[in-house]
């Protein structure tokens, strides 16, 4: 049985798409397809006018697990992608680029620490820096904030928002958190249960410069309500039930 079937998602260049859906519906498979780590049995994935046939240097990835290398310092962890895709870049330029990002996420002064010396939220910040250090066209995130506590998660949402303002990239975020999808997304895509297809697409009608308070406006509440109902449908439940 296919994991994804009839999935049709278009993410306009430079926008942020949040993908939500019931557990086990194939969201992670979607990220692996977009990243070129997996080939679709049927159908196609296109990125920036090119068909994805395998891994490409212009993709960034972040996971729920920050996947930092314990034997490297935070700085050297952030530099890692540059060692693969920017082989001609000098060490000094790599350091400058990494420090610029570390500064943006508030990790200045921690660049020489080991990952084990940092808190979970800080590790995830470093992981985000690593995922965009090589200026990818597309950033693919598979529940990057899922393992963090609620307040740290909200801090990271704001960091993500600020990073996007400073560095334009197209983003696909897989999440289970509806508030997160509305806060970060330009559009929210709801996937159905397995096999996953596009069930519902919502354009997020909130101001560009949203703050956490924007989530407590009537408009946000209305959108969250609609999404909640869509999730229930995706789970195969009646939206009228509570």
């Amino acid at each position: 049985m296919p994991v994804l079937d009839g999935l049709d998602v278009a993410v306009p260049e430079g926008t942020f798409a949040a993908v939500v859906g019931p557990s086990g519906c194939g969201k992670s498979t979607l990220t692996r397809l977009v990243a070129g780590l997996m080939k679709p049995d049927e159908g196609e994935v296109w990125l920036h006018g090119e068909r994805v046939k395998g891994p490409r240097k212009t993709v960034g990835m972040a996971f729920q697990n920050p996947v930092l290398l314990e034997w490297r310092t935070i700085l050297d962890n952030v530099i890692l992608p540059l060692e693969i895709v920017a082989t001609g870049m000098s060490r000094a330029d790599r350091i400058a680029r990494a420090m610029e990002l570390l500064d943006m996420v508030g990790l200045t002064g921690f660049e020489n620490k080991r990952p084990s010396e940092l808190s979970g939220g800080m590790r995830q910040r470093a992981s985000l820096c690593r995922s965009i250090v090589h200026k990818p066209d597309v950033l693919i995130m598979d529940e990057p904030f899922g393992a963090l506590d609620a307040f740290t998660r909200e801090d990271l949402w704001q960091t993500m928002r600020d990073l996007r303002r400073a560095e334009p990239f197209t983003a696909v975020l897989i999440t289970h958190d509806l508030r997160e999808s509305v806060f970060l997304g330009d559009q929210v895509i709801v996937l159905s249960g397995r096999p996953a297809r596009t069930q519902y697409v919502m354009d997020v009608d909130l101001p560009e410069d949203r703050t956490l308070d924007s989530l407590y406006t009537p408009k946000a509440a209305e959108m969250l309500h609609i999404l909640r109902d869509q999730i229930k449908i995706a789970q195969g439940r009646n939206p009228e039930e509570h």
Partner: protein, 252 residues
């Protein structure tokens, strides 16, 4: 730093004291159990033999261990990366490891007749490669896919992924196994030196002590072997500090 040296030294002194006490209280004669105070004269009397034969044992053990590192790592990589190779090789490896190596001494001394150094090194290798192969194999096969994906998504080659991620991530397991293998390799060397005597190594010295009924000498050989074992073990620890020191965490 002082405590780091003082604690193990005190433990050794306490052990020797207890040993001396045990022999003294039971009034055991030398042929039953030599006491630590009998050992320095034995070492002194045969000091040149201890040095030359100890060196023979040490270099052949280290050579066997180096072979074990090379082949063990290679086998570990094969079973770590290929599921088919893993299924095929595990029963063979476990079976081979289960064979008491003492039974192989006559076999290899017949195949490579007279090649004493080679036989000894071969035995040290055969007895010590298994832990290395298994732990490298497990280290590689249990690498979380995300670790591979962060580089694979950028189009990195398998070799680059191995060099930058899989290899360093496996180092702590590798050194854990190397500590076990280092002491095992001495057992291999001495099996050949004792079972197939050719007049070289501490095993030969032990054998001659047995022939002459020189019990303090036999015990002195055992202590010398323990000393060499400790020496090699700490050499491995130093290498571990250098190459995998990051894996050590401060006890909280």
């Amino acid at each position: 730093m002082l405590r780091k040296i003082a604690v193990p030294v005190l433990a050794i002194v306490a052990f020797l004291g207890l040993w001396e006490l045990l022999v003294w209280v039971n009034d055991w004669p030398n042929y039953k159990m030599a006491s630590p105070s009998d050992l320095p004269p034995a070492f002194w009397r045969y000091k040149e033999l201890f040095l030359t034969m100890g060196w023979q044992t040490l270099w052949r053990t280290v050579a066997g261990l180096l072979l074990a590192v090379v082949f063990g790592t290679a086998i570990g990589m094969i079973i770590g990366f290929s599921k088919i190779a893993r299924d095929a090789l595990y029963p063979l490896l476990v079976g081979f490891n289960a064979i008491p190596k003492a039974t192989l001494v006559p076999v290899i001394s017949l195949i490579f007749i007279g090649q004493h150094d080679f036989n000894t090194i071969l035995m040290a290798f055969m007895i010590s490669f298994f832990p290395i192969a298994v732990s490298v194999g497990i280290g590689l096969s249990t690498l979380e896919p995300e670790y591979r994906d962060i580089l694979r998504a950028l189009g990195a080659s398998r070799l680059t992924i191995f060099r930058k991620i899989a290899l360093p991530k496996t180092l702590p397991e590798f050194f854990g196994a190397l500590k076990v293998s280092a002491t095992l390799a001495f057992i291999g060397t001495n099996l050949v030196e004792i079972i197939s005597p050719h007049g070289r190594g501490l095993g030969a010295l032990f054998k001659s002590g047995e022939t002459n009924g020189d019990y303090p000498l036999m015990f002195a050989v055992l202590i010398a072997l323990a000393f060499l074992g400790i020496l090699l073990y700490y050499a491995v620890i130093i290498l571990e500090r250098i190459f995998a020191g990051w894996a050590e965490r401060e006890a909280s």
